[in-house]
Amino acid sequence: MTAQQPFLSLRNLSVGFGPQGAIRAVRDVSFDLEAGKTLCLVGESGSGKSVTATSIMGLHKPGSAVVTADRLRLDGRDLLSCDEAQLSGLRGSLMAMIFQDPMSSLNPALTIGFQLREALQLHEKVSRKAADARVLEILQWVRIPDAARRMNAYPHQLSGGMRQRIMIAMALICRPRLLIADEPTTALDVTVQAQILWLLSELQREFGTAIIFITHDLGVVAEIADDVAVMYAGTLVERGSVHDIFERPSHGYTAGLLRATAEFVPGEESLGRLEEIPGNVPSFSMLPKGCSFVDRCRFAAPSCHERTPDWRQVAEGHDTRCDQPIDDARAASALRETMI
């Protein structure tokens, strides 16, 4: 049953900016997410992760982005056919989002209590008193010390970690079934980061929320992901379970990302030499012909310059957008080369 009706399903989502959407920041992104699971959207900055997430929420400034897709369904609803008012009704209740910078994401002119209460009262008809009780409850749940007093505080009076908890509380107050977290820990200290991650997994266990977690930090991915989707230059290049992606990366880019991170050199017990991916991410206006990673790929074959690769299944639930998927033997030999 779940195979037919995934909780969230994207097929060929594309997003363009500028006149007539000419700058194609995201192209043909497809993935599914089951209820209660965590999908990590991984990639370098500028790869289109945030734009993808923003499109699911319908949060682009009206008129600024052209979003197209063959399918964009959440919980049985077609999000693409929703108008702004319908989307407003879903945002905050069915789906919610937290952002990278908790410093600028809270309104400096309004109290914490007001902003949280508003998030609740936009979607549920509750009295001021009942709303305050719910706000207090959720603040305690995200471990805000002295929560009752903090309700009258303004954002600038709180630390970064505290503000991100507030953001989480605000996103969760209506118990959304999808939470999109856009690099929520990047701006925070490492210790605070761990607390936030713990909080999110706690939340998932309690509410059964599905999470899309956007990050470029593979350490975080290893910790929280069920599934991983890797983005490169505006498109998805590989998706699969966290185990598949980390143990058997089949796209040259995924393999490169892992090799650039100390803990995850595939197939090696000890730490190998850290390696960078040669070259830079191409800009959207200058994508190479064929596979967009071709100029930086160590495994590129002549045919890779010719055609844009289609999805290809390498294992059950593990797909790659590569015509020359890496098998273990090739990876091992390539690795040996780099060790010399």
């Binding site: 407003s88 945002r91 209740s93 952002f99 600028s104 994401s105 002119a109 998030a119 600038h156 996103a171």
Partner: protein, 313 residues
């Protein structure tokens, strides 16, 4: 909070002092004898001497300054050379039309300019936005008196809807007063609302691009709610600031508008005083105008606390 208020209140003192010294020095920076200057070309030496004594112009400069300041502190702005009446009571007689004109212009401009600026920012790049940009550049490029005469020509002379010139005091009835002040305050509003609308639009565009506006949308807040609850409070400080900094231009515009519409206010008093070389009156008017300006800017700064919780600490 109280710390901020006290500091701001104290900062008024040096500003006021510089204003008073400047106004005092005005008489002494010109070429020649101030007493002769005031007395006019046809004065006899005896008349000049009399003026010199009356205005303490025979004392050393520092003593004069001290005397001047001590009189001003006691709210004594001296007597008119021309009519002999106390300057303060002359100003009191003329203050009503000026105050009515300034306040109505202020209200009218803010009521027009803030919504227009917000609307233009919300639809940035649209025809409405372009129209507002054009209108606001026009607003502070076309001189007040040109706008004034155009409006008089259209609405008073041709259409006959409103009086051409003159001022009806509040005591003649609110409606009469209102009718007589419509054209002058609309005239002056062109300038003032242009300044306010420009800043409102620019700030609003910045605020709408802020992360917290995205957060509000992510919560499911609708457009109106985003504008009214989340954005408006955050444009408060810049908009109130521009009201304060443009208030000097408003007061200058009041003087010119009074001349166009023949309104017997403080602006006319100033111009008449200058034409009759009635310097104590000129000085008095300058002081009163400056103190109004200082007070307005003080209120503007204090109002920051209303909009920005960060100021309150």
């Amino acid at each position: 909070m109280s710390n901020f208020v006290v500091r701001r209140l104290l900062s008024v003192i040096p500003i006021a002092l510089i204003v008073l010294v400047t106004v005092f020095l005005l008489l002494h920076i010109g070429p020649g004898d101030p007493a002769a200057l005031i007395a006019g070309e046809n004065a006899t030496p005896a008349q000049i001497e009399q003026i010199r004594e009356r205005l303490f112009l025979d004392r050393p400069l520092l003593e004069q300054l001290f005397l001047y300041l001590s009189h001003v502190v006691q709210l004594d702005l001296g007597q008119s050379v021309y009519s002999g009446l106390p300057v303060l009571s002359l100003i009191a007689q003329r203050i009503e039309p000026t105050a009515v004109l300034a306040v109505s212009t202020l209200l009218l401009s803010v009521l027009i300019a803030v919504p227009m600026g917000v609307w233009a920012a919300w639809r940035a790049g649209s025809t409405v936005d372009t129209a507002l940009i054009v209108a606001s550049v026009l607003g502070f490029s076309v001189p007040v008196f040109v706008i004034g005469y155009v409006l008089v020509d259209v609405f008073a002379l041709r259409a006959g809807w409103l009086p051409v010139q003159g001022y009806k005091p509040l005591s003649s009835g609110l409606w009469n007063c209102f009718r007589s002040i419509i054209l002058p305050s609309v005239t002056l509003s062109f300038l003032f609302s242009a300044l306010v609308a420009r800043i409102t639009r620019a700030t609003m565009i910045e605020v709408l691009a802020e992360d917290y506006i995205r957060t509000a949308r992510a919560k499911g807040a609708g457009n109106r709610r985003i504008l009214v609850v989340h954005a408006l409070k955050n444009i408060g400080v810049p908009v109130v600031t521009v009201v304060g900094t443009s208030f000097a231009a408003l007061l200058g515009g009041v003087v010119i508008t009074e001349s166009v519409f023949n309104i017997p206010g403080m602006g006319r008093l100033t111009v008449d005083a200058i034409l009759t070389r009635d310097y104590p009156v000129v000085q008095g008017v300058l002081i009163v105008f400056s103190f109004v300006l200082i007070t307005v800017n003080l209120l503007v700064d204090l109002s920051y606390a209303l909009f920005d919780p960060r100021v309150r600490q």
